[in-house]
């Protein structure tokens, strides 16, 4: 019996020892700690190639969603948890900038596309990708109901499309907030709340997150829910291509809101020189080509071609709505409150 417990004790120790040995680092190595959000994804081989080319090892640390990431960067600005950060988006950019989280750095390639999406002229944040939030439709389900595909915000409030739309709560969901902002941008600060009252009268359903909306309520996903209209991303249809090779869903390109994700060098970074090279890498052709498939977002660099499935099912929205980052920062809480009054009352 004693031998067995010894074995058990030994078995329990091995993983910790293994954990220790794998986490020890060679100090001579040039390492850049890249703090990012949960959705960041890149194949290991790409990081290995970058290391072989530059001698820099990128150490990826994920820190929750874009909001959590920004909050963490702000809290730790006196003693940063990394050298560079990627994933602060349109919604949170103003907070990171006013709090002085990022140092000034403008990559040489910034004018090859990223500059078009810049949040301001300070050159502290570099755009890396664009993820537009748009209403998605289940084409088959609408055809089955003998309904034409809607196109505009007005269509969504049209009684023909009663009880068909599901959206996310802007207080708890990032696409939910983006869609709210799309309506603010489209209808203006005076009328957007009235539009939501009309949506409510037209039977819009509100759930708290994207998972429930898309995988459970939406009829075009594997969950095969009851509603053929959902707030999701312009990129989502590229993942819902049928066995016949035809897209089963499509994004309404006139209902989109542009969310840009930014990267930058952190103020107080231990290794700022190499951190700049990592920001360069994020807008390099190599990395930009990968972002659609790895993270379901559009590249910002000019001339980077989209994968075939995207060209077919998820074309880039031409003229999505936008709002200035400062406006978002100043009004977010009030908008959510007004939205609550309009929709929940």
């Amino acid at each position: 019996m004693r031998r067995r417990s010894l074995l058990l004790a030994a078995a329990m120790t091995i993983p910790l020892v293994a954990g220790c040995t794998t986490s020890t680092q060679d100090n001579a190595e040039r390492t850049v700690v890249l703090v990012t959000h949960d959705s960041f994804s890149v194949e290991q081989s790409v990081l290995d190639k970058f290391k072989a080319d530059t001698g820099i090892k990128i150490d990826v640390r994920k820190s929750g969603d874009a909001g959590a990431l920004t909050a963490q960067l702000v809290l730790t600005k006196a003693a940063p948890i990394g050298d560079a950060a990627f994933g602060v988006d349109t919604t949170f950019a103003a907070r990171a900038l006013t709090e002085g989280v990022f140092a000034e750095y403008k990559p040489a390639d910034a004018d090859k596309g990223p500059q078009k999406y810049a949040v301001d002229n300070s050159g502290r944040l570099t755009a890396v990708d664009v993820g537009d939030v748009c209403v998605n439709v289940d084409l088959g389900a609408l055809a089955g109901r003998e309904l034409a595909t809607p196109a505009t915000f007005e269509d969504l409030a049209d009684p023909r499309y009663k009880d068909l739309l599901v959206v996310e709560d802007p207080a708890t969901s990032s696409p939910g907030l983006a869609f709210l902002m799309a309506t603010v941008a489209h209808y203006g600060t005076k009328d957007w709340a009235n539009y939501w009252k009309r949506l409510k009268d037209n039977g819009v359903k509100v759930v708290s997150g994207w998972e429930e909306a898309y995988t459970q309520e939406f009829s075009g996903s594997s969950g095969k829910g009851p509603r053929p209209l959902v707030v999701s991303y312009a990129s989502s249809p590229s993942a819902e291509i049928g066995d016949d090779g035809k897209p089963r869903t499509s994004a309404l390109l006139d209902t989109c809101f542009r969310q840009v994700e930014y990267a930058g060098v952190l103020n107080g970074a231990k290794n700022p020189d190499d951190a700049r090279k990592v920001v360069d890498f994020l807008i390099s052709e190599t990395f930009q080509k990968l972002v659609p498939e790895a993270m379901y977002v559009y590249p910002v660099r000019d001339g980077v071609e989209l994968p075939t499935a995207w060209q077919q099912a998820s074309p880039r929205p031409e003229a999505p709505s936008t709002l200035p980052a400062d406006d978002i920062q100043a009004n977010r809480e009030r908008w959510i409150e007004q939205w609550r009054t309009a929709v929940r009352a």
């Binding site: 948890i81 207080a171 708890t172 509100v206 759930v207 898309y214 594997s222 498939e293």
Partner: protein, 528 residues
């Protein structure tokens, strides 16, 4: 006799490690983040009626879910502790499965079972996660309780119910109140379930602290709510400690002596227990069924990294990562938990004031009742002062998990250790046993089963832990719950299939581990 009553100093020295751990990895970060937010706005938040309706809903739903978990957990505890029936091994493992399931997946399952969710769905989902806490904690004590007192009451003419309420229940009270306290804290701080099933219309302190901290960066509001959360948790724990105060020493027996074939009306309780197990299986089966919706595609994909490489690890690597992280957290929690229990039991034998014991006991429970966001963000502004900057180190994962798992170890082990008749220890000491020999000969054999129960528990909690892991794990060390969370958040049928297949895999791993741990028999309890 002098040997049998080790001094206060020795006990406090034993408690130093767990208390030091608590101070560094819990109190310091929480105090720091709350202090950062303290400001004139705190009063406004505390006096707002909205705040108090959130407090009311938080405590109300947690109390209701705890009641459901206790009422459904007790028949299962009876089945596991008092009967020797075919299928008990399965039940013992099956009740643990809900514990490891990611909340997002369970939330989605309850949404499809209960329409759009709502308070009832929130309460049932929270109870679903926690039936195991009651069933296994109570069973751990019950299986050692001498049957003869009940038999005597029955033969003196007491009805079955009368016997239960006046003989059995008082004996089980420490374990019931122990587990109820744990369940209450889990439910009061449940996050994903409330968001998903509340549909945005219901908020708890936990969800509100998250929204204020992460979305609005309103640290003042978050600090006010964190203090409220802490105050209500302490209040509940103090009530629990008072309820546990009058615990009686029992004649604890070996399990073989107490389990037998049910007779007469006991079959009714067995049926109720199986009813509970079947109810627990409904959401579980619906998840497994989902994983087979497009045949075996999801399972074939486990060897890969998701649709278009959504993940940076394969399913198998995620299993290994999960096991590694859970193992580290488990042994750490066992060390801390056992040390705390030894210190508390030893203190109980000295003339130490009961309030000192209760304070240490309550303090170790606190991490269960405080928002993961508060603790996690507290780490960010404190731990860089320690050598090696743990803030983004993978070592922080088992440390943070152990904080949550240790209270469970204590709550499983302590009721049994406290219920051991002190006369046994005194007898051993009189016969010349040194203090460590008293432990070896008396306490350890009697508590062995509960130690195993605690181990299985600790492992399951650590396996299913999502909060700390998703914040701290590196992409290459993603665990199964983290992988499932990522997959569910992506479009595409294959990702969805893979998510549910990974869930099934997580359940199988859990069942295998619980069964293995349960089968380890550390010696057998002797006759006293």
């Amino acid at each position: 006799m002098a040997h049998g009553r080790p001094g206060l100093t020795g006990a406090l020295a034993t408690a130093a490690l767990p208390l030091g751990f608590l101070a560094v990895f819990f109190l310091w970060p929480v105090v720091a983040i709350v202090r950062l937010g303290l400001g004139p706005g705190v009063g406004a938040v505390l006096s707002s009626p909205d705040t108090w309706s959130i407090v009311g809903f938080t405590l109300g739903q947690a109390a209701a879910a705890t009641a459901v978990a206790v009422l459904t957990g007790l028949p299962v505890a009876f089945l596991l502790a008092r009967t020797s029936l075919w299928g008990n091994g399965f039940v013992r493992a099956a009740v643990m499965v809900p514990f490891v399931l990611p909340t997002v997946v369970v939330g989605l399952a309850f949404r499809s079972l209960f329409g759009d969710g709502g308070p009832l769905a929130i309460i049932l989902a929270n109870a679903f996660f926690n039936v195991a806490v009651v069933a296994r904690t109570v069973a751990a004590l019950w299986s050692h309780v001498d049957r003869r007192a009940e038999d005597a009451a029955r033969s003196l003419g007491a009805s079955r119910w009368r016997t239960f309420f006046s003989v059995t229940l008082p004996v089980l009270r420490p374990a019931i109140s122990s587990s109820a306290a744990v369940v209450f804290l889990f439910c009061a701080t449940s996050f994903g379930v409330v968001l998903l099933l509340g549909g945005g219309e219901y908020a708890t302190l936990e969800t509100e602290i998250y929204l204020r901290t992460v979305q609005l960066f309103d640290l003042t509001g978050a600090a006010a709510l964190s203090m409220l959360q802490l105050a209500s948790v302490v209040a509940v724990l103090v009530i629990g400690a008072i309820l546990r105060r009058r615990s009686t020493a029992l004649r604890l027996r070996g399990r073989a002596d107490t389990a037998r074939r049910p007779v007469g009306g006991e079959w009714g309780i067995v049926a109720a227990a199986w009813g509970v197990v079947v109810a627990l299986m409904v959401p579980i089966v619906s998840l497994v069924a989902k994983s087979f919706e497009s045949g075996l595609d999801g399972y074939r994909a486990i060897g890969g990294t998701g649709f278009r490489g959504s993940l940076q690890v394969t399913g198998w690597e995620a299993v290994l990562n999960s096991l590694r992280a859970a193992t580290d957290a488990t042994w750490l929690a066992l060390v801390l938990g056992v040390l705390t229990c030894v210190a508390l039991v030893t203190l109980g034998r000295t003339r130490a004031r009961p309030s000192l014991i209760e304070t240490i006991d309550t303090a170790m429970m606190l991490p269960l009742g405080v928002s993961a966001v508060t603790v996690g963000f507290g780490y960010l502004i404190t731990l860089d002062a320690l050598p090696g900057d743990l803030r983004t180190s993978p070592l922080l994962v088992p440390l943070a998990q152990a904080l949550v798992v240790t209270p469970l170890v204590i709550r499983t082990l302590l009721p049994v250790l406290r219920s051991i008749d002190d006369r046994l220890r005194q007898a051993a000491a009189t016969l010349g046993a040194a203090p460590w020999q008293v432990w070896r000969e008396v306490d350890i054999p009697l508590a062995a089963r509960s130690f195993l129960a605690a181990t299985a528990f600790a492992y399951a909690v650590a396996l299913g832990e999502f909060g700390a892991t998703s914040f701290l794990a590196r992409p290459e060390s993603a665990t199964l719950p983290v992988v499932i969370g990522r997959l569910v958040a992506r479009p595409g049928e294959l990702n969805n299939q893979l998510a549910y297949a990974s869930c099934t895999l997580l359940m199988l791993v859990t069942v295998a581990i619980v069964i293995t741990v349960d089968r380890l028999r550390v010696g057998s309890v002797g006759e006293f």
